[in-house]
Symmetry: C2
Subunit: 341 residues, 2 copies
């Protein structure tokens, strides 16, 4: 019997940010596939689509007309999951049924007037304009009394439930802190209390020494496959400086952040030679008016593709009822991504 090692043997890894585990089954990458394949849309899109509700000058379902925007454009979601007008209140029954009103604001951000682009295709200077808008929105929304958390994210690709290929993301800002950032607050607080240092700063230092999982770095950011990655080609973008939220980014850091996003999305598109679907989003400190020295700004990329443009990883039975599971190791994924830089 061989000695235990991470390359050959099933094991679980601890996610320092959430306090949860992922099951890794490296030996399993070779199993045959007979399941569902996704339809990958390789159709060329026009620069402007008259039927797209996100293209400049078009009219949306609620009758509003989009401006002829030259760069980015933000508006309140016409079918938002969160609404500003929600009355406060809660519901309780027998100590076991517990609900609370959730007031918030849902916005849509167009990344570009061009219908045919994605972040991966855009110039760094244009991605920088998206970063500027994220910064502005985080600050404006976060300043509102009833907004205690601002979730900035993007769903890219039909496989990720994206209903319009026009390059865009969303912001859901709300009165409570959602599950995932709440877990990250807890884990980061625990570490900060114990070490008086940021968890992600120490983690990043370690990864930059190891280098096995680092995919890209510039002056202000590093992109890596986290040791505890769940999705086959999951990455995390971590700021080298320890700051809490996008509002604190300098001009140089905003440029570097745009560059990091450009690099990783462009790499993704080369993995299977297809516009790579993903969900991505920023985690940063709650806007609850409290000090959060423990928080360290970062962005997650969760791409579902596993073996090819049409074969994704399914997070189903065992994953829903037990723990997330992966076959290919984070180290192998990082090597693959790095080779495509």
């Amino acid at each position: 019997m061989d000695a235990f090692n991470l390359t050959d043997h099933p094991h679980r890894r601890f996610n320092q940010l959430t306090g949860e585990w992922v099951l890794v089954s490296p030996h399993r990458a070779k199993r045959p596939w007979q399941g569902q394949e996704e339809n990958i849309n390789k159709e060329q899109r026009p620069e402007y689509d008259p039927t797209c509700y996100l293209c400049p000058t078009n009219v949306r379902a609620n009758g509003a007309k989009n401006p002829d925007y030259p760069a980015t454009f933000v508006f309140e979601n016409d079918f938002g999951a969160l609404q500003e007008t929600t009355p406060g209140g809660n519901y309780e029954l027998g100590g076991l049924l517990k609900a609370e009103s959730e007031r918030g604001i849902s916005k849509v951000i167009c990344f570009s007037p061009r219908h045919d682009l994605t972040l991966a295709d855009m110039e760094v200077a244009d991605i920088r304009k998206v970063v500027d808008l994220w910064q502005q929105e985080y600050e404006e929304l976060g300043r509102l009394d009833f907004i205690n958390y601002v979730q900035i994210f993007e769903n890219k690709g039909a496989v990720m439930g994206c209903s319009n290929p026009h390059p865009h993301g969303q912001i859901w800002a709300q009165s409570s802190v959602p599950n995932e950032p709440a877990k990250e607050t807890e884990q980061q607080t625990r570490y900060y209390t114990q070490h008086h240092r940021s968890l992600l700063q120490d983690y990043l230092e370690l990864e930059l020494k190891e280098r096995t999982r680092v995919v890209y770095e510039n002056a202000a950011f590093a992109v890596l496959v986290p040791f505890w990655a769940v999705w086959p080609f999951e990455t995390i973008v971590i700021s080298k400086r320890h700051f809490q939220h996008i509002g604190q980014m300098t001009q140089e850091e905003k440029d570097a952040f745009a560059d990091a996003i450009k690099q990783i999305t462009a790499i993704y598109d080369k993995v299977f030679n297809v516009s790579f679907p993903y969900s991505a989003g920023i985690h940063q400190q709650p806007t609850d008016g409290q000090e959060h020295p423990e928080w360290h700004f970062h962005m997650h990329f969760f791409p579902p593709l596993l073996r090819s443009a049409s074969i994704k990883k399914f997070m189903v039975g065992y994953e829903m009822l037990g723990s997330p599971q992966r076959d290919i190791t984070p180290e192998t994924s990082a090597e693959r991504l790095k080779s495509l830089l």
Copy 2:
């Protein structure tokens, strides 16, 4: 401004079993859909498929030949995520990279020799044989020293990553307790310590009084849409008697459990007039040799379909980075399911 109510206003609900929240946006059920539609396979399958590696008498990839089984058939997964031969050990770096060897056993259970059936199509008496096998496997696997948790589950349908339509489920038995049952242990323990009663027993009593979310009940089990359901038509099957695991089920309870499974899966198939995809599985006490008076046996059904046979709910951007989100309320779903009984 109306007073807050669960039918009209965005709110979050607390999941008593996991300690996490779900965002509910009832007003949003009406938004238009322009996203991906699933291919729904309506092809008639033969009773026996010579190319299926699960059909009786066929040869599997590793050369083993399936017996001519008349009812159920269980074997070790030829490409299991967990392996019995995994050497013990762990990995640690800088207090931040943490991994542990995970030893276990992965099995496949064929529910029927008939390639063309699903649990929904099977006779209750034949589902009862599946329940008997689950019971036997739970007991045998749980008795092994290195097995501390036994996860019994089924992925049904290509949308749920199921790679073979032959009716079958899986068992992943392992040395550590996965995330979800670990959370449920914690929540149930907290309640049991405080009230000296099972959390689910009190919850079930309350639901049987309310009746708004109960879909079906027989002498020993109730099927309901939990107050904190995440998936559009998610249900939970709860035993009326407080027991910890399937090994403690009486003959009558096993019959009743088979009946409950038959009813809910048959109802599902009527929702959109299609063989309803889902992931389902049993949660029960860890086989770690400890007493678990807090544990209450139950089964979860997580079906992804939302609006039609081809439109599913996507748990993507906000859900991955924030909290799960649903549009249609659990009460509306329960009403719909109940009407199809």
